[in-house]
């Protein structure tokens, strides 16, 4: 431990990094790219989870009326909804109000409404559920009952949207894990190659160290640190780039996505995720060094 504490291993590790700049720059770039990919998908799924939370916040069943639904039919549906113990509050939305909301939420699509020359949005009732965590089955039964009433065109339960967005988030996690995982394996191989060349370049020094009685730990520690430092630096750079993307994306590319902006976006990484990318980078570098040391010392 004294050998570590006097900084010899760190000095040697930084010395190795400084001596083979090009080789290490390539390893660094591959590490950054790998963890950037993993980090971006993580950020994307963070955003999708956030959107799912927003959608789940006001769990509601929306009942859309047919164009020709009479006032009596609408009243009958509203009364049936109000009678249900599942429902906490009811709000009726006239077609004009629906159009106003649409323009407010999707200003980019205002032209479509204007060009139609008439308001295509139907009148509706929004029934907010009393228990946000209510089981889905009773709500579905109520919806089936309402769907059978005269004047009702369609029904929508926004929990399903939340579930779909959540599923998208999980998909993003899986894709990120797969692509990031593959790239991280590549980066481990690249780091291993760089460290291996370094070890081979210092073969004579290693032989001398063995002969003067250096322990394996003494000889290996600078090479292990070399991978660890390289990996942690790559992970840090990747985490910083993901955070930068999360801030810059809405300002530039995000606006061009219009209505999809909310779904396809990058949410900032949590502190744990940021630390995870750095630790993951360090681990990848360390594994690369271990693989190189294993191969060289075995041979």
């Amino acid at each position: 431990m004294r050998k570590w504490s006097n900084g010899r291993a760190f000095r040697d590790a930084f010395g190795h990094l400084a001596r083979a700049k090009t080789r290490h720059a390539v390893s660094f770039a591959v590490l950054v790219l790998s963890f950037l990919m993993a980090g971006l998908f993580l950020s994307l799924s963070n955003n999708l989870r956030q959107q799912a939370r927003v959608l789940s916040r006001d769990l509601a069943v929306i009942i859309y009326f047919k164009d020709g639904a009479t006032a009596e039919e609408r009243t009958a549906v509203e009364q049936r909804v109000r009678l249900s113990p599942l429902v906490a509050s009811v709000q009726t939305v006239a077609p004009e109000e629906a159009a106003e909301r649409f323009v407010r939420e999707f200003p980019d699509l205002r032209d479509i409404l204007d060009n139609l020359g008439r308001n295509p949005l139907p009148a509706s009732i929004e029934a907010t559920l009393a228990d946000q965590a209510a089981a889905e089955a009773p709500v579905i039964r109520l919806m089936d009952e309402l769907r059978a009433l005269p004047g009702v065109e369609d029904l929508q339960f926004n929990r399903r949207w939340a579930d779909r967005v959540r599923a998208l988030g999980r998909l993003s996690d899986a894709v990120g894990l797969f692509i990031g995982g593959l790239l991280i394996l590549v980066s481990i191989a690249v780091v291993s190659g760089a460290v291996r060349l370094n070890i081979l370049g210092r073969r004579e020094e290693i032989d001398i160290l063995h002969l003067v009685g250096a322990t394996d730990g003494y000889i290996r520690s600078p090479f292990l640190l070399e991978g660890l430092i390289l990996g942690a630096a790559g992970g840090t750079a990747a985490a910083a780039l993901v955070s930068l993307s999360a801030h810059l994306f809405p300002l530039y590319l995000g606006q061009s996505l219009g209505a999809l902006q909310d779904l396809i976006g990058f949410a900032p990484l949590t502190a744990a995720q940021f630390a995870g990318l750095i630790a993951g980078g360090g681990l990848a570098g360390l594994l690369g060094s271990l693989a190189a040391l294993g191969r060289v010392f075995r041979s």
């Binding site: 001398i208 003067v212 009685g213």
Partner: protein
């Protein structure tokens, strides 16, 4: 007098069918100066490689300082090597590092404080007459000086045993004599010195026990 190196019926083969060493037995007492002589390929370097346990014998026993070195587990070999110094024909110096750093390598491995390292390196370099070259790199030195740096590195840790593999092979006769005098001086201070050489003039000039090897077999012992 205690025995420093004891070879008992040692056999060593790198590749079939030739034997690098065949049934070699000898012992070297502590404090002795001994030459192992023979032409290239006779097995001289193999003996040194076996003593440092860079390789293991196929059969027989090798004791260093009373310890059967084959019984030392792999992770503990460093302890054996810390008790000895090794000098090579090609010096094996780190050319991008200064003389000081080259000589300091065995002390840094021990984790000694920098103050002690400086003192011991200076003493070792003064002994080989190179204390004024402490901040030079090996490339700035002559071959004779480079070999003296290698000797300083081998003795800086006051080893009980000094092994030298053709230490004068790259040097002219005058420089070779100079280096041999240095080994003699180190031996006088109590260190067991084992020198492998094919140079019979050197052996004749410097008194010491001779172990002649030919084709991996130890011949009759010759007086110096």
């Amino acid at each position: 007098m205690s025995v420093m190196i004891d070879f008992r019926n040692v056999w060593k083969q790198y590749q079939k069918p030739a034997w690098a060493l065949s049934d070699v037995s000898f012992s070297i007492a502590a404090g002795e100066m001994c030459f192992i002589t023979g032409p290239s390929g006779s097995g001289k370097s193999t003996i040194l490689r076996l003593v440092t346990r860079e390789c293991a014998p196929n059969d027989g026993q090798i004791l260093v300082g009373g310890t059967e070195i084959r019984r030392i587990p792999g992770p503990k070999i460093y302890l054996l090597r810390r008790a000895m110094g090794v000098v090579f024909q090609d010096f094996r110096l780190l050319h991008e590092r200064r003389v000081f750093d080259n000589v300091a390598v065995p002390l840094r491995v021990l984790g000694l404080p920098e103050k002690d390292i400086k003192r011991k390196v200076f003493i070792a370099l003064r002994m080989v007459g190179l204390h004024h070259r402490i901040w030079n790199t090996p490339s700035e030195l002559s071959y004779g000086e480079q070999q003296r740096v290698a000797i300083a590195r081998a003795v800086v840790n006051n080893p009980r045993l000094l092994l030298a593999d053709e230490p004068t092979g790259n040097l002219d006769p005058d420089l070779a004599s100079e280096i041999m005098s240095l080994f003699r001086e180190i031996n006088r201070q109590g260190t067991t010195v084992v020198i492998c050489t094919h140079d019979r003039d050197i052996v004749r000039k410097f008194a010491g026990r001779v172990l002649p090897l030919r084709e991996g077999r130890l011949r009759e012992r010759e007086p110096a």
